[in-house]
């Protein structure tokens, strides 16, 4: 896939994506772009296909229809070398960390470095300790994943995901299984990563507190419509929800925050608002 001038600014571009499990359609006709340097949240209820969408974005599942471009390249069409190049530029934090259980934390972080770089072991050690220190796990390098807590595991997985300084980071439900304080710390870490490295971040989440805290823009997957029914900044979506479902989703726990006067019944359902171009 050649370099496309139009999408040069968008690290991820999804066009007319339909996701399917066998005959069961999960979501239809998704089109959106993720802009460089933004924190983009994929939200929706349980079972709406958020994680499935992420699996499509990172190339683990093939679209039934439509295309997904990463920096203008299609992962599934790319040859081995290009695919490796694409994968090197993305980092993924799985729901439960997915640290390799047979390796220590240090080895987990070091493995991508060993695979992709020709650095000498000493330098790799240094980078590994630095990455672990950045997520607050200094000195835990020799621990195995089973010896640390869930929150620490997620942070260690973040260290591994950022080992190669990826341009785009994917998070699958970063706050799941964590207490509110630990979850909020992970959010801070995400914000900090973006601020210091300019990393584009794609987050799958249904945690409202986290969505309002970190998201620049969010898209909403409507399980009944099997489509995305909203795309925009969460605060704006709450002020002016394009559908009843979006409003219900965003209002659930935000009674204490500035309320919205929007009447859901009075609004027409606006489907698939056109993805905005990058400035």
């Amino acid at each position: 896939m050649g370099y496309n001038e139009e999408t040069a600014g968008a690290p991820i571009e999804v066009q007319g994506l339909t996701m399917q499990y066998g005959p069961l359609i999960v979501m239809e006709d998704l089109s959106f772009q993720v802009r460089r340097g933004e924190i983009f949240v994929i939200m929706g209820g349980s079972g709406s296909g958020k994680s499935t969408l992420m699996r499509h974005l990172i190339g683990l599942q093939a679209p039934a229809k439509g295309t997904i471009l990463f920096e203008g390249m299609d992962i599934l069409q790319a040859d081995a070398t290009m695919r490796r190049e694409i994968l090197r530029r993305m980092g993924v934090l799985y729901q439960n960390g997915a640290l390799w259980s047979g390796l220590t934390l240090a080895e987990n972080v070091a493995l991508p470095l060993e695979e992709y770089t020709d650095l000498d072991p000493e330098t790799i050690d240094e980078i590994t300790s630095l990455k672990l220190a950045l997520v607050g796990l200094k000195g835990f390098g020799s621990f195995y994943p089973s010896e640390i807590s869930g929150g620490m595991r997620k942070r260690a997985a973040l260290a591994r995901a950022t080992a190669l300084d990826p341009e785009v980071l994917f998070f699958d439900e970063p706050s799941s299984g964590l207490d509110p304080i630990t979850a909020s710390r992970l959010d801070d870490l995400i914000l900090q990563l973006r601020a210091s490295f300019g990393t584009t971040v794609v987050v799958v989440s249904h945690d409202l507190a986290s969505i309002f805290k970190i998201a620049d823009r969010a898209l909403f997957l409507d399980i009944k419509e099997k489509r995305m029914t909203a795309l925009g900044a969460p605060a704006e979506l709450r002020k002016d929800p394009p559908s009843k479902e979006v409003q219900q989703f965003l209002m659930r726990s935000s009674e204490t925050e500035a309320g919205s006067t929007a009447d859901p019944e009075a609004r027409s359902l606006e489907r698939n608002p056109p993805a905005r171009r990058n400035p």
């Binding site: 683990l60 640290l99 390799w100 259980s101 060993e114």
Partner: protein, 371 residues
């Protein structure tokens, strides 16, 4: 738990009385209605709860029956006379609409199912070929120095499949050697040929039983373990984590396991053959009254190196089969709780089936090649 129906004009009055507890059977609305005679012409269902006592979900289930009946028969469901709590709960039950039924595929016809089975079989075969290819590619990469295998994992596999497997292999091989020897004792003594028991034990252990028994033990022990290990890694997304980092899970997880087993299986086979012969010797001395010299003399006169090598070759092939079957089933694990168990089971079944099939093929070739 009482429900009675009577009619007032065009309205059916359902009288709910007494305590409704889940312990008893819930009345069925349909039969009740039939018992009351023809309900035709009714336009609404109303309720009389004057004598209703304590109630739980059983009442709700009954009311849902009525409500569904009303919907089907276009009757008005008048809930105003029901207790407020009941009305709220009914609303709650209705608030989420039932999922579209067409989401659930209906039972397809026999032909369709046959076709699906065929396609699934084809997919499984192609997946096995692809997996074999990936492993072969990995080995090629390893030989050319392009793939960095985790040697630590390799040595762990070697250890657990050598010293770790010795006790069980010793026990089984010794017993199998004894069994062959007993068999020989029964048959050969009849012809006064008890001396030749050493031939039987020697050939039997070296050519067949050492490799076969070791293979079956290792399929149950190690093949299942590989499938379970990789299966749980699949479930915890560790394998996905390899893929999205552009690192081949085959190189990192499968190669060390398959190669480790490939190294240890021939060694275990040789060991099993010796132990089996030892078992045979014990029986020969005690039952057939042979001496150790007679036994070993007969054995060495009959058995050649090629018999031993055939067994070792078989052991190596079996090692490959067990390793590949176990790892493949592990990598193909689904994502539900029972999936790892199923992966382990099918790894053992597949492993043992292929081992016995391969044994037959190798024996046939050996006969053809006069080995």
């Amino acid at each position: 738990m009482n429900a009675a129906i009577h009619r007032e004009g065009r309205t059916l009055i359902v009288q709910l009385a007494g305590d409704w507890k889940l312990a008893g059977a819930i009345p069925r609305f349909g039969p009740l209605l039939e018992a009351e005679g023809d309900a035709g012409g009714a336009q609404a269902v109303d309720f009389d709860t004057a004598t209703l006592g304590h109630w739980d979900s059983s009442l709700l289930a009954f009311l849902v029956q009525i409500s569904d009946h009303c919907e089907v028969h276009d009757l008005e469901f008048r809930e105003e006379n029901l207790p407020d709590d009941v009305i709220r709960l009914l609303e709650l039950a209705r608030i989420v609409p039932e999922r579209d039924v067409d989401d659930k595929p209906t039972q397809p016809s026999l032909v369709a199912r046959l076709g699906q089975k065929g396609l699934a079989g084809y997919d499984a075969f192609m997946a096995a070929v692809t997996f074999g290819g990936e492993v072969a590619g990995g080995v090629g990469g390893l030989l050319r120095g392009r793939v960095r295998m985790r040697w630590r994992e390799f040595w762990v596999v070697v250890q657990s499949n050598s010293s770790g497997a010795l006790p069980i292999v010793t026990l089984i091989s010794f017993l199998v050697g004894m069994i062959i020897s007993f068999l020989g004792a029964v048959v050969l003594r009849r012809f006064g040929a008890g001396y030749f028991v050493s031939y039987l034990v020697g050939y039997g252990m070296l050519r067949e039983m050492a490799a076969l028994m070791t293979g079956i033990i290792m399929a149950g022990r190690t093949g299942a373990a590989f499938a379970a290990e990789l299966g749980s890694m699949k479930i915890t997304e560790e394998i996905d984590a390899f893929r999205t980092l552009g690192i081949s899970p085959v190189d990192h997880l499968v190669l060390p396991r398959v190669l480790g087993l490939l190294v240890t299986m021939p060694l275990l086979t040789i060991y099993a053959a010796f132990i089996g012969i030892l078992g045979g010797l014990v029986v020969a001395i005690n039952v057939l009254d042979l001496t150790t010299t007679q036994f070993t003399g007969g054995l060495l006169a009959a058995v050649t190196l090629s018999d031993g090598l055939l067994g070792v070759f078989k052991g190596t092939v079996f090692g490959l089969i067990i390793g590949l079957a176990g790892c493949m089933k592990g990598m193909q694990t689904g994502s539900d709780a029972g999936a790892v168990g199923r992966a382990a089971t099918s790894a053992v079944v597949l492993g043992i089936t292929l081992i016995i099939g391969a044994n037959a093929v190798i024996d046939w070739l050996a006969v053809l090649l006069d080995i």
